[in-house]
């Protein structure tokens, strides 16, 4: 049976470069994120948040320590395992990275297609439904060039969510969005967590969306410095 935690790291360390020029960017990071939890990772730039996100998101090889994603150890995992795990997660990047030659629907379809022909049988309905959820139901056949920055970002959100990921990683998802669309996107993520037990792990500086999180983890200098539970304000922050 799957473990209780969607994401669990132990003694996670990471170094960029080797030997004398090597820079250690993560020091013994310990994280435990339950399924269905919405967690926000905060910290100044250079604090290692993005490195954590890429390590637990199967985009970078784990060097030292342990990362368990949905019960699978990522340290020492081969390319095949990493690729298989990527099918089970969704990524929302700061830049939308939409394919300029594809329509909104086709871009979303790229997120669905990876799951094989079975998942694609009703791709049109699935993609359109997802675009409606992010408020773009009337723009399904638009090319990215015809969409505003915020709309593009919402298409990228739809692409990340259409495959029903078990964990969603988001890097500043609201940075390019106005207040209203930002709330729309984050509340959508919140709903996925509540209804489908989707785990949301998000890096953000956007204070407008902090209210949606269950927990806020703060990093500094490659260490977790503070954890704060939002829903239970009575509990004292854990200091490391």
């Amino acid at each position: 049976m799957a473990s209780e935690f969607a994401i669990e790291t132990k003694q996670l360390c990471h170094t960029f470069g080797t030997g004398a020029v090597g820079v250690r960017v993560l020091h013994n990071v310990e994280l435990q994120i339950k399924r269905g939890e919405v967690v926000i990772l905060m910290g100044p730039s250079g604090s290692g948040k993005t490195t954590v996100l890429t390590l637990v998101g199967c985009l970078r090889s784990v060097q030292e320590g342990s990362v368990k994603l949905l019960g699978t150890e990522l340290n020492g995992a081969g390319d095949e395992t990493l690729m298989g795990m990527r099918h089970r997660i969704g990524f929302i990047f700061q830049a939308h990275n939409l394919h300029k030659s594809l329509t909104a629907t086709q871009n979303v379809q790229m997120g669905l297609q990876i799951h094989g022909r079975q998942a694609n049988r009703n791709w049109r309905e699935a993609c359109h439904h997802m675009l409606e959820l992010v408020g773009l139901g009337d723009r399904v056949d638009f090319m990215p060039d015809q969409l505003s920055g915020g709309q593009k970002q919402r298409v990228a959100v739809a692409r990340a969510l259409v495959g029903n990921p078990e964990v969603v990683f988001a890097d500043e998802p609201t940075a390019a969005l106005d207040k209203e669309s930002g709330h729309k996107v984050v509340s959508l993520l919140r709903r996925l967590a509540d209804e489908r037990q989707t785990t949301i792990f998000m890096v953000t500086h956007d204070h407008r969306v902090l209210d949606y999180a269950d927990r806020i983890i703060k990093m500094e200098g490659g260490r977790v410095v503070e954890e704060e539970s939002i829903l239970f304000p009575g509990i004292e922050p854990v200091n490391h």
Binding site: R60, M83, R86, F91, A95, S101, L102, Q109, Q113
Partner: protein
């Protein structure tokens, strides 16, 4: 279109859509492939014309076996052989008849236009049936009159006034090799790379035109045999029998093959055209590679995103290949059309039989597809630069 590809692939035809999205790049790429195709088609057209025209005379003879001097390489430089070998060959069982053929080249300057024409002169026995073309074989009767010639109406830049006179049944007197010769009739053969046209004369006239050639030393001897199927066998038999070593017998097909082999391997012309085909392929390869690698470069962040979603390396490989093969197909069609037009123009200009056999488009398309695939394979090496960890 994209729906058809999508259905075939079982996925979105990203490569196709990418190509269609950037029209300027698409036109440049298709233009490059088209250009390469035109180059290859033209070189093949000329090369084929070389091979075809070099054996026009060979094919025109009605023979099962041909006797040539033992050092035969090409008709252009064929040495004469002793006629006594013809009689020896006639003694071999199965050999039905033998006819000597004299060949040489003579320049003729048309006094009306000042143009000089290089004729291949073929001297035949006017009473013998020498040519496959029955009409032509009967025409040789005209040559019983001394100093007459039948002239090739497809001679390069042939004087149309002479042609008109001959067509209306008249004759035209010209001076060739210091002798007055009368053109009395026309036949149809065509120019080749080494001569502009052909003349057929009687063996007697031939010897007058070529005073240094002696009777009894023909260039070729044509043999007819009872059973054409046993040509190889009998030619082998003749070679064993004529052990003096100054002549050799070949079947007609061997005779044609020997000439073409000589043109392909011994003359620089064959090499030049093969080289031209190679250059066409390299040009196409470079252009397609350039376009595909720029395209990969431009889409690195999208590809990295797809990698983050979990697409395997073979997916990207197939996208680039899809683009490569689409370019091959899109460039091939205009290339073929342009070449069909150019073939007509070149054939009219040079008098060479530049034609498009149906196998050539298949061959060139295969070559184009291979060329684009190789470019695509090289371009995919750039995919490694698409690192999803760099997206942040």
């Amino acid at each position: 279109m994209s729906q058809i590809i999508g259905w075939l692939w079982g996925r979105l035809p990203i490569g196709w859509l990418q190509l269609m999205h950037n029209k300027t790049r698409l036109i440049a790429a298709v233009g490059g492939v088209t250009f390469a195709n035109v180059l290859i088609f033209m070189q093949l057209g000329f090369m084929n014309a070389l091979f075809e025209t070099s054996v026009f005379s060979h094919r025109s003879f009605d023979a099962d076996i041909v006797l040539v001097s033992s050092d035969f390489r090409s008709l252009r430089e064929a040495n004469p052989l002793p006629r006594s070998r013809m009689y020896q060959a006639l003694a071999i069982p199965g050999v039905q008849s033998a006819t000597p053929i004299y060949m040489g080249t003579r320049f003729w300057t048309d006094t009306a236009t000042g143009d000089t024409t290089n004729f291949r002169v073929t001297g035949v026995d006017p009473n013998a049936e020498v040519f496959e073309d029955q009409v032509l074989s009967r025409k040789t009767r005209h040559l019983l009159v001394p100093d007459t010639a039948i002239v090739d109406q497809r001679t390069r830049d042939f004087n149309s006034a002479i042609q008109a006179t001959l067509q209306s049944g008249g004759s035209v007197n010209v001076e060739i090799g210091g002798r007055s010769i009368s053109f009395v009739s026309l036949f149809d053969q065509g120019a080749s790379f080494d001569v502009d046209g052909s003349l057929i004369v009687s063996d007697q006239t031939f010897l007058r035109l070529f005073p240094n050639r002696r009777p009894g030393t023909p260039t070729l001897v044509l043999l007819k045999i009872d059973d054409p199927k046993s040509a190889a066998e009998i030619s082998e038999h003749i070679n064993q029998h004529l052990a003096q070593g100054d002549v050799k017998a070949m079947t007609k097909q061997e005779f044609i093959d020997a000439e073409q082999r000589y043109q392909a391997t011994q003359t620089p012309i064959g090499f030049v055209f093969t080289f031209g085909v190679g250059i066409g392929i390299v040009v196409g390869l470079v252009i397609v590679y350039q376009v595909l690698s720029t395209d990969v470069q431009d889409h690195l962040s999208e590809y990295a995103t797809f990698k983050a979603i979990g697409y395997p390396p073979r997916f990207f490989f197939s996208v680039v290949l899809e683009e490569a093969l689409s370019l091959a197909a899109l460039g091939f069609i205009p290339g073929l059309v342009i070449c069909l037009v150019l073939y007509q123009l070149a054939a009219a200009k040079t008098g060479l039989p530049i034609t498009m056999p149906w196998t050539r488009p298949l061959f060139v398309f295969f070559l184009t597809a291979a060329m684009c695939t190789i470019s695509g394979v090289i371009a995919t090496r750039r995919l490694n630069a698409a690192d999803p960890a760099e997206l942040f």
